[in-house]
């Protein structure tokens, strides 16, 4: 298991390098630069600024310089928030993003799994049809549509919850963004859980469990739930990635001071280092969480063993 983990971590390096390279050059292809503002700076000043940030060097040099700094753990200074390093901004924004993301993934599991199980047990009943068609709608509508709708209905029209803001992560402020962020994952997980539960319930060892004289309830909880969860667990990797990318938009819409907002604003301002920093950070995070999910899978399924 240790050697497997090491191997996976080593494999993550080239993946991360590809992500960095792509986003580095894509950023530079985008028109405009970090110092283009409403008011044009005098050429000498802009020249000085560019030199200070090494933007006057040829692109490959800049790329190598960035990689060199990155290896030393230096994400560079932000071009826009001039008094801050990118790493400072990320560590400032991370707690809010983490809280939002954790709640979203928890909601996706705690709501998606039971819904899927109920739909599977009551297959082809009204409950099944309601859950599945709602789930389909949840998948079909993107979160950037759901989020403003939620804010409009519950924040503005009904006035039950704040339409935006963070307020230190109070539950009233968390509720709408968490719903907007998790609804798609709830839908995916419910559908996936239903399908795998139906498959497991038809398997031979479930027949054995029934032939043992167990009640249907025990058959489901003891024998069917864990194997049926396996596909959901392996989906957690992509789900986490989906929630992270989703949070970029959601944070912006609800005005949450997380990393996602820095990312969007960094991209609009051509704040190269800030965008690169968030990409590297989230890229590494997604790879790490995927590894954790795979290790978790092997713990749930004894047939999967990452031998040394």
């Amino acid at each position: 298991m240790l050697s497997y983990t090491l191997k996976r971590l080593l494999q993550a390096i080239p993946t991360l390098l590809i992500v960095i390279t792509l986003s580095f050059f894509l950023m530079r292809v985008a028109p405009g630069g970090p110092f283009d503002g409403e008011r044009r700076l005098p050429p000498e000043i802009e020249q000085n600024l560019r030199a200070a940030y090494h933007l006057d060097e040829p692109l490959p040099m800049q790329y190598l310089r960035y990689l060199g700094d990155l290896v030393q753990g230096d994400l560079g200074p932000s071009f826009k928030y001039k008094d801050f390093d990118v790493s400072e901004l990320i560590s400032q924004g991370f707690p809010a993003s983490l809280e939002l993301g954790m709640w979203a993934i928890l909601a996706a599991l705690l709501i998606g799994v039971p819904l899927g199980v109920i739909a599977a047990i009551r297959r082809n009943s009204t409950a099944d049809y309601v859950v599945m068609s709602t789930a389909l709608a949840g998948i079909a509508v993107p979160n950037f549509v759901i989020a403003p709708l939620l804010a409009l209905v519950f924040g503005v029209l009904l006035g039950w919850l704040p339409a935006g803001g963070w307020n230190g992560g109070a539950w009233q402020n968390l509720l709408l963004p968490v719903v907007a962020l998790s609804i798609q994952q709830i839908a995916y997980i419910a559908r996936m859980m239903r399908a795998s539960m139906i498959e497991v319930l038809g398997s031979h060892y479930i027949r054995t469990a029934r032939a043992k004289g167990l009640s249907e309830w025990k058959v489901i909880l003891r024998h069917a739930l864990r194997p049926a969860m396996l596909p959901v667990v392996s989906y957690l990797g992509p789900a986490i990635a989906g929630i992270i990318t989703g949070s970029v938009v959601i944070e912006q819409i609800f005005g949450i001071p997380g990393i996602g907002r820095y990312f969007v604003q960094g991209a609009l301002n051509r704040d190269y280092t800030l965008v690169m920093g968030t990409v590297v950070f989230y890229g590494a995070l997604i790879l790490l969480l995927n590894l954790i999910v795979d290790l978790l899978y092997s713990m749930l399924d004894p047939q999967i063993r990452y031998d040394d």
């Binding site: 050697s3 004289g213 031998d307």
Partner: protein
Amino acid sequence: MTSSPSTSGTSSSLPPARNAADQARADTLTRLGLAAEAPGTPPLMEINDLKVDFQLPDGAVPAVKGVSFTLNKGETLALVGESGSGKSVTSTAILRLLPELAEIKGAIRLRGEDLLSASTRRMRELRGNRIATVFQEPMTSLNPLHRIGRQIIEVLALHRDLKGRAARHKALELLEQVGIPEPARRIDSYPHELSGGQRQRVMIAIALACEPDLLIADEPTTALDVTVQAQILRLLKSLQQRYGMAILFITHDLSIVRHFADRVCVMRHGELLETGATHDVFESPQHAYTRMLIDAEPAGEKAPVAADAPVLLSARDVRVSFTIKRPLFGPKVAFEAVRGIDLEVRRGQTIGIVGESGSGKSTLGRALLRLLKSQGQISFDGVDIMPLDKSGMRPLRSRMQVVFQDPFGSLSPRLTVGEIISEGLRVHHPELNRAQRDARVCDALSEVSLDPGMRNRYPHEFSGGQRQRIAIARALVLKPEFLLLDEPTSALDRSVQVTVIDLLRDLQARHGLTYLFISHDLAVVRALSDHLIVMKEGEVVESGSTHAIFEAPRERYTRELMQAAFAPDLGQTHH
């Protein structure tokens, strides 16, 4: 579960107060010699006029059409029939574990208690306790995520309220009884760490945990190798003697029944055709279908080819190994599935390769056709084929074809039979136009005795035997010289097997085909091949003319195989 017993009038009365109709039926049974025990001793289980209909969207499909039989204490009753005969539906009805769309009528009584009108709770008390089951699929019948000890203890906790140390102790005792080596170590194993035979032993341990009155064994040995099959049957027999339980033994294989059951019920199309003591049924079957089943053992022998017949395929020192582990540091770990095999196949010959699962027989077959990477020398019709790449092999492919075991999985469900058969023609004979291809497809279908008019249908519309004929037609359409037959009859009922064997024989005679026939079924191999190779663990144990080996096997392993296949001695008990 819909269960509406039609004889509800009788079910309310308790066993001693039988009504006249039941009494009359019992008397008839006694007169016919079907009730083994003296009148007055009620049978353990009584099934009267059992009917099961599956309510499907386009109408009810009857699966069991009024079946009646009794089972006495300590007795073994075999329920014999081919696929679709309703034998498994009957046994599942006893447990009331049929899907909800099944409608059950009639009466099933265990010690006088009507099971069809019993409450769900009562049924749960009986299942795994008074009525236990061992299923056909040992590989998938245990929960893959639970340790085997836990799966045994679960029944003990449920029905015997046995927990903790006492339950574990009892589970160890059961594992010991069913012949699991080192039970103390094995009790904490997961199912995938055990072989098929061992898993079936664990299933038996679960079934016996509460010392049931009735054990339903639904094809318990079908998925196992012959030598393991014999061990499991011996084990069941010895445990039956020990616990005095009755066994309802469901099987399609009459050869097992002869040595195992006291009485036999023969079923076909949901009806009970014949019931009687095993000896009587085998000696003087009353029904033509029973006769046919008994005679369905593949017969005949193949004459050897001339000693100077030209060699079509020859192989020297063929080795196949699979990488099973590739650690980060250090050398990769390989498993050698085929370990240096020499082979010569002459034109017109049928070489049979027999061996149990894992012996490497299928791997060898695929390596010979270069469908798998291997080392060694292989030449086909004098051409060394080892150095050839994919495109170099392609012209030869039409001359060497394969028929696989699984007639359900090896035909694409999205293509019509005509498309499946003509696909090879498109590759190897692009010069043919549509009409010519169609004509070749029709010829191939007629060759395998299928109506060419069915070529526009899809595989699911055909039975297992028909599908295997389609697979053979697919191979034949290219007019090959060499056919690799990888267990082509193993998934088929005995009676269908015989017809497929006749077909293969007939085709060989007509077209001078050369066969490499891979099978675990010695009876089929004996009927079809003139030369035999016995494989074990990737090596040849014994080879020679089929006749000579069957007459006088030289090696101990060959003798064991034959013993297990043709005369399992169920009297002895050892593991």
